[in-house]
């Protein structure tokens, strides 16, 4: 009798301890939600304060970005000085250049590595490409500003082109190279997921390897590749250091890659690393930009994940 009582007690104690531990673990997992909430709340909160001084319509549709003019404490958002369109334009222009560089390089590398390269070649080429992903963006920014931009400017000069020293082209190209390993490794996974039976069918009919890749494998992998391209685009849009160091702060509204533009991220850095008091319209506009950036990248990421999930269902 006494023995079984002690047994029960021991099991109960360990069960409550177990439950406490699991609760602690669950709380840790729940932190993820708290972080997201924190991001949303802080951004939304400061943005709301911002929109009390500057109308939403000016921010979202204004074509003029010059926050420096709104320095006086009593100045209510001067007409057109907080229009984010040039920033969105600059962000998209540089990201587009980056994706134009990275997509062919990344996809071609992925196809070559998964379908053509020998095991030995793959074993060292893949890690070498990963090094590109591991280099800090501040290093890319330095290289872009110090070496690539002058090189492009000089090369352009020889062809009679007037290229700015902080051109969107320079920043876009360097950003593109930085993204290549992302596209390459994501696409590589997607291509490898295409079943071997489809390759067998294609080769059995007498197709060459390039025909099999172009007509069977890539179309089959297309949703997955689209997802990875979206993720890469989101990465490009959110990139900060390369554009801060190589693209400058000229809020030009232009589609010309040879000119200088600025991006949302570069402006956030410029607004918050000067000297100003905390809740001036300038500082708050940085948070509004931050919310804009967060929203854009979040939407793209959700779309990417949805596409990839649809694709996975096709083959599971």
């Amino acid at each position: 009798m006494a023995g079984s009582t002690i047994d029960l007690t021991r099991r109960n104690r360990s069960r409550t301890l177990d439950r406490a531990i699991i609760l602690l673990l669950a709380a840790s997992a729940g932190i993820a939600i708290f972080v997201t909430l924190g991001i949303v709340l802080s951004l939304v909160g400061e943005t709301w304060l911002f929109f009390k001084r500057v109308p939403v319509s000016e921010f979202l549709f204004g074509l003029n970005w010059s926050p420096q003019t709104a320095i006086r404490a009593d100045q209510v958002g001067a007409e057109g000085s907080f229009g984010a369109i040039p920033l969105i334009n600059g962000t998209l222009l540089i990201s587009a250049i980056a994706m134009l560089v990275a997509t062919p390089l990344g996809l071609a590398s992925a196809v070559y590595l998964s379908e053509y390269a020998s095991r030995r070649a793959r074993d060292w080429i893949k890690p070498a490409l990963e090094i590109l992903a591991g280099i800090p963006t501040v290093v890319y920014g330095f290289f872009a500003a110090l070496t690539v931009a002058p090189f492009i400017r000089m090369t352009g000069g020889q062809f009679g082109l007037e290229i700015a020293s902080e051109s969107a082209l320079a920043a876009g190209i360097v950003m593109g190279i930085m993204i290549v390993p992302l596209i390459s490794s994501l696409s590589d996974d997607v291509i490898n997921a295409v079943p071997q039976s489809l390759r067998d069918a294609s080769f059995g009919l007498g197709a060459t390897k390039s025909e099999t890749v172009r007509r069977v494998i890539l179309p089959a992998a297309l949703p997955g590749i689209a997802g990875s391209l979206l993720l890469a685009t989101s990465r490009a849009i959110g990139e900060t250091m390369i554009v801060v160091m190589a693209a400058g702060l000229a809020a030009n509204l232009t589609l010309n890659p040879l000119q200088a533009v600025t991006t949302i991220t570069a402006q956030i850095v410029a607004l918050l690393t000067g000297d100003q008091e905390f809740d001036s319209a300038k500082t708050l506009s940085a948070f509004a930009l931050g919310l804009l950036l967060f929203t854009i990248t979040l939407l793209i990421n959700i779309a990417a994940q949805w596409i990839v999930r649809r694709y996975r269902e096709q083959y599971d």
């Binding site: 699991i22 993820a32 951004l43 080429i125 501040v138 290093v139 920014g141 989101s234 990248t297 990421n301």
Partner: protein, 419 residues
């Protein structure tokens, strides 16, 4: 009669040519990408490796009793002593503009160096003697071959007269190059020739330390819950989606969060490693969770099943049996996460780590800087010599990253041998 040769029709020749072209497209893409990488690494290396050496000038300084009072060394004006020493070495220099150029041969830090040496070793006082002082940044660059003397005078930062003086000094053996330890042991400076990265290194170390202490325990606890204990319900799905999304949020947004909540609402000290570490930990958390989950997933289920079959509770089974097996993998993931955090600049800029920090921070509450931020600040400086220092700092950063990744790879390889 069946024909399997190349002339069998089926448009073979054109298709095989297309195949060859396709293969080359792949090779060229890889070559371009790796070529760019090589270009970057070579440029940075060539640009920064010169920092290994520092140039010094021997200036004959009069440390006699009427210039320096041995009982009150600090009272002496060492700056004037250096200047008169230089004048003494080049007595023909008369014009005021030329004299300014002459004084610029020695770094502005030279006077302080002299003072420190006099205080440390008073035995050098009392006579005229040559003292090795750090050369100025332009002189340093020229002696080490980084400035092209062949360019027309108005296109270079160093004039013909200065080149002539340098020639004289070299001929007399009064210029030498020594190992530049100050780069690693000194803090930042306005003068590029004596700027060092120690403060930045310590700041980074402290920030990463805070980051690891916060994100690693939280991360592996969260991963353990999600992988071993979480029921298959909406809440778990929401958490998973959340983590995946957080992993893709631009790092600057975490900086804004830190600015608004840690600095603004919580009032923590600006540009401190504490806040820097907290922001970095938020960024690294999703990475660690994802890596830790992968590590837990790779543990053979037989281990957990065996423990349960012997009567262990689920918690005991996980913590006593699954966890130890997965732990090295989790550590590997954490190291990779730390390596990424080491290079991240944007969020640290947001929380104020852009100040000019000379002193090495002694606690996580003092203002500090970090290595990538130091690189960013130096990259912005107009002086030519800072370009070299920036490249050198980048080399140090890359070395740390290589070391951390090597550790992670070695750990992973040791692990893979187990199963």
């Amino acid at each position: 009669m069946i024909d399997f040769s190349k002339s069998a029709g089926f448009d073979l020749a054109a298709r095989h040519r297309a195949e060859t072209r396709f293969r080359w497209v792949g090779r060229i893409a890889i070559l371009i990408s790796l070529g760019f990488l090589a270009w970057l690494l070579v440029t940075v290396f060539a640009g920064g490796i010169g920092t290994v050496r520092q140039v010094e000038i021997a200036v004959s300084v009069d440390l006699g009793a009427d210039n320096v009072d041995p009982s009150d060394i600090r009272d002496a004006s060492f700056g004037k002593l250096v200047k008169s020493g230089l004048r003494g070495m080049f007595p023909t220099v008369k014009k005021r503009k030329d004299k300014k150029k002459l004084y610029n041969l020695v770094s502005p830090e030279g006077a302080f160096e002299l003072e420190r040496r006099a205080i440390a070793d008073p035995s050098i006082l009392g006579e005229v003697r040559p003292v090795w002082l750090t050369a100025s940044d332009d002189l340093s660059l020229f002696v080490r071959g980084k400035i092209d003397g062949a360019l027309p005078e108005d296109q270079r930062p160093i004039s013909d007269k200065e080149i002539a003086w340098i020639g004289q000094l070299e001929a007399a053996g009064q210029i030498r190059q020594v190992a530049n330890w100050r780069f690693l042991t000194g803090g930042d400076s306005r003068e590029p020739e004596i700027a060092g990265i120690l403060a930045a290194l310590v700041g980074s170390a402290l920030s990463l330390g805070v980051c690891f202490l916060l994100s690693f325990p939280l991360g592996i606890m969260a991963a353990t819950y999600l992988e071993e204990f979480a029921p298959e319900n909406r809440l778990s799905d929401v958490i998973e989606v959340n983590i995946n999304n957080l992993a893709a949020v631009p790092s600057i947004v975490f900086g804004l969060l830190g600015l608004s909540i840690f600095l603004g609402a919580m009032g923590l000290p600006r540009s401190s490693p504490l806040v820097g570490g907290m922001v970095l930990s938020l960024m690294t958390l999703p990475t660690i969770i994802i890596a830790a989950r992968a590590s837990l997933k790779s543990v053979p289920p037989s281990i957990k099943e065996a423990a349960l079959a012997l009567g262990a509770t689920p918690v005991q089974a996980v913590f006593h049996h699954v966890f130890p097996v997965a732990l090295p993998g989790m550590l590997t993931g954490a190291i990779v996460g730390m390596a990424r955090a080491l290079g991240d600049t944007a969020p640290l800029l947001m929380i104020g780590m852009v100040a000019f920090i000379v002193d090495v921070p002694k606690s996580i509450l003092e203002p500090a800087t970090a290595l990538p931020v130091q690189i960013f600040l130096w990259a912005d400086s107009p002086e030519r010599a800072f370009a070299e220092k920036t490249s050198a700092a980048i080399l140090v950063l890359l070395l740390f990253l290589i070391a951390m990744n090597l550790v992670a790879i070695l750990m992973r390889r040791k692990l893979e041998q187990r199963f």
